[in-house]
């Protein structure tokens, strides 16, 4: 079956512009996660969705970052007024139910470059 997909794969934008990143999780997966990965670094948790609700937004770096999920499926991560420090790979993952023992299936990521 289809895995997690993300679009765009690459995004170059100018400082101050808004960007939207999209994640299509595996069908039927109720849990969806967004992470940020800076060059050569590990994963920084951003936000977790269970269905359309976000019980854990603790990782969002600032109020310029927001995310939503609709229909228990597609999610968009929006970054307003982008800054150069926002440059990173943004990874999305989904899992069947969000339990700690579930496998997280990751997409290939969106590489964001802010000039």
């Amino acid at each position: 079956g289809a895995g997690v997909s993300q679009s765009p794969s690459n995004k170059v934008t100018e400082k101050g512009k808004d960007v939207e990143l999209r994640c299509d999780p595996i069908s039927g997966h109720t849990a969806l996660y967004w992470y940020r990965q800076s060059l050569g670094q590990g994963l920084e948790f951003l936000i977790y969705f269970q269905g359309n609700s976000a019980p854990d937004k603790s990782g969002l770096p600032s109020d310029r970052f927001s995310a939503e999920r609709t229909g228990g499926s597609v999610s968009t991560l929006t970054i307003q007024r982008t800054q150069q420090e926002d440059s990173a790979v943004y990874l999305c993952a989904s899992s069947r139910s969000g339990r700690g023992t579930d496998t997280q299936y990751f997409g290939p990521g969106t590489r964001l470059t802010v000039l």
């Binding site: 997690v4 996660y33 992470y35 050569g40 670094q41 590990g42 994963l43 948790f45 854990d56 990874l91 993952a93 969000g98 339990r99 700690g100 023992t101 496998t103 997280q104 990751f106 997409g107 290939p108 990521g109």
Partner: protein, 110 residues
């Protein structure tokens, strides 16, 4: 606060050598997972361990969960160039909140 410390951060060894990487915490986890990430791709799950003292083998990879469920190790026997990648551990607490370590970047030289 970094709850999961991975060591070493970087490791470069010759093909055929053995190695061990570690994932340590002062917190107890209900389960722990190891993922491997290759350049340009998302991480892929290698194993999940849930019982203190548990040992799981995956071909040349041996994973151990500490008795107190605060730490884990990954041992690779006779490393091969295909083992190159970023190894991430991820611990789940009782509330199912999942925390990733910063990873060990492994490079196997042919």
């Amino acid at each position: 606060t970094q709850l999961l410390e991975q060591s070493p951060q970087f490791l470069s060894i010759q093909e055929g050598e053995n190695l061990t990487v570690y994932c340590n915490s002062s917190s107890v986890f209900s389960s722990l997972q190891w993922y491997r990430q290759e350049p340009g791709e998302g991480p892929v799950l290698l194993v999940t361990v849930v019982t203190g003292g548990e040992v799981k083998k995956l071909k040349r990879l041996t994973f151990q969960f500490g008795d107190a469920r605060k730490d884990s190790s990954l041992h690779i026997t006779a490393a091969q160039p295909g083992d190159t990648g970023l190894y991430l551990c991820a611990g789940a607490r009782g509330d199912d909140k999942i925390i990733f370590g910063k990873g060990t970047r492994l490079h196997i030289l042919p």
